[in-house]
């Protein structure tokens, strides 16, 4: 076996953040390599350097033993490298064949029927199931992915990189994809698949390379390893953070989520029979691989998602009544007297209006108050000043448009506003993402204060160390299902890591 591509001591920085630090790995022809790691471990960044989207700051790339410099996706094509991204790059209105030849400068007259023939030939060779004359907008996700793979094969790729290819597939589709990948391997192609699903790694790949927080952990042969070893390599040893955690005082059931399911626009079940209870005076953590349904879950509670099944019950501590929040709009929910605060993942999309200043953004929550024809600005202005001072928001003044602030400061403004609404339920999705250490602790303290005030806090996080030290209970979801609820005081990282990768969808053997 010859080495198809080799990376030596690759380092890539974005500003102060090191995305990849001194990473070395290699793939042979006729081999499938899995690149394993948690969210944000630098897998995609590393692969983007092979496919010409980024350029490494340090280190070398060798293809077929020769050192190369890949400066654009086009140059990657010339080195016979093809990457299949998680987000498909296809023109919906075109047929599969038209997408395959898009942008190619082939010799001879353009004739779409010749292309259709060639696509058929590739499909037959590797066992794809595709109609080249079908339009993309009529295709399922799996068919679209097939078009992407054929696209790179049509361009003659020998090294294929697939970024989480099974994230969007059903188990049957995954099985088909794996069969095709094995056939391509037997044909001598070098294949790298980015994933965090352990069972897929074990059933498909020949070797596994693991990244953790941008660092290269090591490479093992699949035949000589097991789930436990891989999980440990992936999540690493526990780090002490010393986040304060008090015991819940008089916890009461505040929010009861019962058997909810949600189907998204593509017809995929993003939430599947989820049931849990959020209690007052407690922080409930939600852990999971990105895109496992966290966003849809929070949006369902906030009144932004239509549910196909189930109910969401809210116990009102003031009136003692119980209300069903399902399929209610945010305004209806507020009119029921439910004090719900929501820090969404998409800060400037759903949380704040970028072109408005801090005061105006405060008013987004309070503009309905008061009876005067004119808006009352003093209250929101005081609140804005208060937040800027308490949370140390770095801004010239409160009249600065929010979009001009840095990501961390935007986050502080949003969290500050939501907490100031004195909620009974506080939902926060990744509230410390992009914040430095000190600001992160500030947010943890704020969440803890809310907990002490008897608020039911739901915290969606990505750093397992934080979840374990901050939360009273941790609910793990995978593929839209609850894979386990553990006690934050006695849970281990490995336990949660295993639950996270134990998604019901995508398994080859079930």
């Amino acid at each position: 076996m010859s080495v198809a591509i080799e990376l030596r001591n690759i380092t890539k920085r974005f500003g102060n953040i090191i995305a990849n630090n001194n990473v070395s790995l290699s793939v042979n022809n006729g081999e499938i390599l899995s690149l394993l790691g948690e969210n944000g471990s630098g897998k995609t960044t590393l692969m983007n350097m092979i496919s010409g989207i980024y350029h490494p700051d340090e280190g070398q790339i060798f293809i077929g033993g020769k050192q190369v410099s890949i400066r654009s996706p086009h140059e990657a094509f010339e080195h016979k490298i093809g990457m299949i991204h998680q987000h498909f790059k296809l023109v919906d209105l075109f047929t599969a064949a038209e997408n395959v030849v898009l942008g190619l400068k082939e010799e001879g007259r353009y004739n779409i029927f010749d292309v259709v023939e060639k696509v058929h030939a590739i499909s037959d060779k590797y066992g794809f199931d595709i109609d080249p004359t079908k339009k993309i907008y009529e295709m399922s996700v799996s068919e679209k992915q097939t078009v992407e793979i054929i696209k790179v094969l049509y361009r003659g790729a020998d090294i294929l990189i697939l970024d989480e290819p099974t994230a969007v597939l059903t188990p049957q589709e995954t099985r088909k994809l794996f069969a095709v990948l094995r056939r391509m391997r037997d044909d001598g192609k070098a294949i790298i698949i980015i994933t965090h699903k352990l069972h897929e790694v074990l059933s498909l790949s020949d070797r596994v390379s693991v990244l953790r927080k941008g660092e290269y952990v090591g490479t093992v042969e699949t035949a000589k390893t097991n789930e436990a070893e891989l999980t440990e390599m992936m999540v690493g040893k526990k780090v002490e953070l010393n986040i304060e955690r008090t015991d819940p005082v008089d916890p009461q059931d505040r929010l009861l989520v019962k058997n909810i399911s949600c189907i998204n626009r593509e017809g995929v079940k993003v939430l599947d029979d989820i049931s849990f209870t959020a209690r007052s005076g407690e922080i409930l953590g939600i852990a999971g691989i990105a895109g496992s349904g966290q966003r849809e879950l929070l949006e369902s509670i906030a009144g932004l998602q239509h549910l196909s099944e189930g109910e969401i019950l809210y116990n009102n501590p003031k009136t003692g009544s119980t209300d069903d929040l399902r399929d209610k709009t945010p305004l209806q929910i507020r009119e029921l007297g439910v004090r719900l605060s929501f820090v969404p993942e998409d800060r400037l999309g759903m949380g704040l209006v970028g072109n408005m200043d801090i005061v105006d953004n405060m008013m987004l929550r309070s503009y309905r108050r008061g009876k005067s024809f004119f808006l009352e600005r003093q209250g929101p202005k005081d609140l804005a000043d208060d937040i800027v001072q308490k949370l140390e928001v770095a801004t010239p003044n409160t009249a600065t448009p929010v979009r001009k602030l840095s990501g961390g400061n935007v986050q502080k403004v949003l969290v500050g506003r939501e907490i100031a609404a004195s909620p009974t339920v506080l939902m926060a999705a990744y509230p410390v993402r992009g914040l430095d250490i000190n600001s992160s602790y500030l947010i943890y303290n704020l969440l803890n204060d809310q907990k002490k005030n008897g608020v039911a806090v739901i915290f969606v996080g990505e750093d397992l160390d934080v979840l374990i030290e901050l939360c009273d209970r941790i609910m793990v979801i995978g593929g839209g299902k609850i894979t386990g609820i553990v006690d934050g005081r006695c849970a281990s990282k490995e336990e949660i890591g295993l639950l996270m990768t134990k998604s019901s969808g995508g398994s080859e053997n079930d």
Partner: protein
């Protein structure tokens, strides 16, 4: 009776030619994702540019030759309207200005230029009176040589100047390029999904510039036909009317297909002229009938929007600037 119908068809064709140029040019432009609402202004500038070129040549030449009488206004128009489209391209593609605002500003600007030169071209050369380029106009109006021998058929379908046939040829060629060539495929991809086109190695900026400038130049020919053939070389300020907006409406009516634009233009041309052809209409009734093309366009919009067939929708990225993601 048959003569009345024949003369109506002939009149409708004459009316349809400026519309067809405008619509074909705008379709090519919109296929690249640029919604150029400056088309009415660009067509207007196309007309006045042809007039300026023709006037200067007629003034300077002792014995104007047929070839130069045709080619000089033609080139002036292509340059004038092409430059207008280039302004639009620079503002919206390079500077990423809002397309609607830029287009509307360009229409106002173009009509201003047209009316300025229309009113003062003769004064600039120390003459008085109104612009009338009879010689040039006659060359543009020359019928096909065998038109008179074919009786009513020749009179109805073949009695037009060469620009009329060129309009149909341009629409057909555009249709073939858009649907049957690599260039057309790439251009449509740019208008549908520029990020994908970019990733596939297509130079999005180049395609947008070329489509917009070529589209603008083609639209300008509609203005040239109007001033040289329809009015036989005479210029009246604002004589072009709302034909530019009608061309934009045809783009929607024809569902962004140049081949359909041929028939659509004929229909709109007929609706535009029918009020003159029906005897005994009051002024108010004429105005009401003149609204028909727009009414038909709204009905088409209602139907295509309700049916939601993807092929009948405007290019998906129409009206939006393209930013490549920061790397």
């Amino acid at each position: 009776m048959i003569n009345t119908i024949a003369s109506f068809i002939s009149a409708a064709i004459i009316q349809s030619i400026p519309l067809l140029y405008g619509a074909t040019g705008e379709i090519i432009t919109e296929k690249s994702g640029n919604l150029n609402l400056g088309i009415p202004g660009i067509m207007y500038v196309g007309g006045i540019s042809g007039i300026i070129g023709g006037y200067i040549y007629e003034r300077m030449a002792v014995e104007p030759s047929a070839f130069l009488c045709i080619i000089i206004p033609l080139l002036s128009t292509l340059i004038g309207s092409g430059l207008m489209a280039l302004i639009y391209s620079f503002l919206t593609i390079t500077l990423r200005a809002n397309q609607n605002v830029t287009g509307l500003a360009l229409t106002t600007f173009g009509i201003g230029i047209g009316n300025f030169f229309g009113g003062s071209l003769l004064k600039l050369f120390g003459e008085s009176g109104s612009i009338s380029l009879l010689t040039t106009g006659n060359y543009y109006k020359t019928k096909l040589p065998f038109a008179d021998d074919l009786g009513l058929f020749g009179e109805t379908f073949l009695s037009f100047g060469f620009l009329a046939y060129l309009a149909i040829a341009v629409a057909i060629v555009s249709s073939i390029i858009l649907n049957r060539t690599r260039t057309g495929l790439n251009l449509r991809a740019v208008g549908e999904n520029p990020a994908t086109a970019d990733a596939a190695g297509i130079n999005v900026t180049k395609y947008k510039y070329l489509a917009t400038v070529i589209g603008g130049a083609i639209s300008g020919l509609g203005g040239l036909y109007f001033v040289m053939d329809y009015t036989a070389g005479a210029w009246t300020n604002n004589g072009f009317g709302d034909r530019g907006w009608l061309a934009v409406a045809i783009v929607i009516f024809a569902l962004w297909k140049p081949s359909s634009a041929i028939f659509s233009s004929f229909l709109f041309g007929g609706l535009y002229i029918i009020c003159v052809k029906i005897p005994g209409l009051s002024g108010a009734a004429k105005e009401l009938i003149k609204m028909l093309p727009y009414l038909v366009t709204i009905i088409v919009l209602v139907f295509t929007s309700a049916r939601k067939k993807r092929e009948h929708q405007p290019p998906a990225h129409l009206g939006m600037s393209y930013f490549r993601e920061d790397r």
